[in-house]
Symmetry: C2
């Protein structure tokens, strides 16, 4: 089974990454849902649009930033548009392009939810590490990410 290439030590690191991600995202999702009825995926789209110039992004750029396939993002934006949180607009500089734009309601929803989310990130993630350990995590895990996606900073 090709196990010789992944020893117990490496497998332990990999599984801890999976567990940490699953456990923390589940907690954050539950808190956002309980306090704001907002799925974590919605929150991520709202953050990305709020940080973009003019509060809008091409659908292809947005898909890249929220780490979804184009078809996955289309379904997500459909749901968010029905709730009035985003709008689709045609892109003036590209006849085939579509822009996703944050609405006032979407921005307001993000503002309401961000306290809950950031308190959750602080409590469930960052409180477990010193600032130096946070740098180590960023440096090590930064080697794994897609080099084309620069992480935005709040």
């Amino acid at each position: 089974m090709a196990r010789e290439m992944v020893d117990a030590r490496g497998m332990r690191a990999w599984r801890q990454l999976l567990r940490a991600h699953a456990h923390v995202t589940r907690l954050l999702e539950a808190e956002l849902d309980a306090a704001h009825h907002l799925p974590l995926a919605f929150y991520d789209v709202l953050v990305q649009l709020s940080e973009a110039p003019g509060h809008q992004l091409r659908m292809s750029e947005l898909a890249h930033k929220v780490l979804l396939s184009r078809s996955g993002l289309t379904r997500l934006v459909d749901r968010m548009e029905r709730e009035g949180l985003v709008e689709r607009r045609s892109c003036p500089s590209d006849a085939r392009g579509t822009l996703a734009t944050l609405t006032d309601a979407g921005f307001s929803r993000l503002r309401d939810a961000s306290g809950t989310h950031l308190r959750g990130v602080a409590r469930h993630v960052l409180s477990h590490f010193t600032p130096e350990e946070q740098d180590i995590i960023a440096e090590l895990l930064g080697r794994l990410g897609d080099p084309e996606i620069a992480p935005a900073v709040h």
Copy 2:
């Protein structure tokens, strides 16, 4: 927006964790699909059952191990049962319990796919780190996981 609790340094660590997880799981999922038409979620269930005594687990235990809700696991096992990879059996020691059992076909499918998956973990994850760095990742991220889930070791 309560940003004072999560500074840029902490947010960078958190976002690198999300990016690393998303990028790597997308690569592993694509490779398993291309070579074996096997979703990563199927693979995870097959591994957990293959490591369990008698190749079976209660549905509640399995949900916990694969980090899914009970309803999410029910849908997943439905799909895997239709492909003949697992079977449901009633639990002899608990009239209300249901066991998920690995079938011979499921074990064979896991054996075929594990080389692809483990090569992917080696290449996309572990090759970026020294053994000492793997230990650091396991120790740091181990602080975040659910303490009730002990990570299995291949």
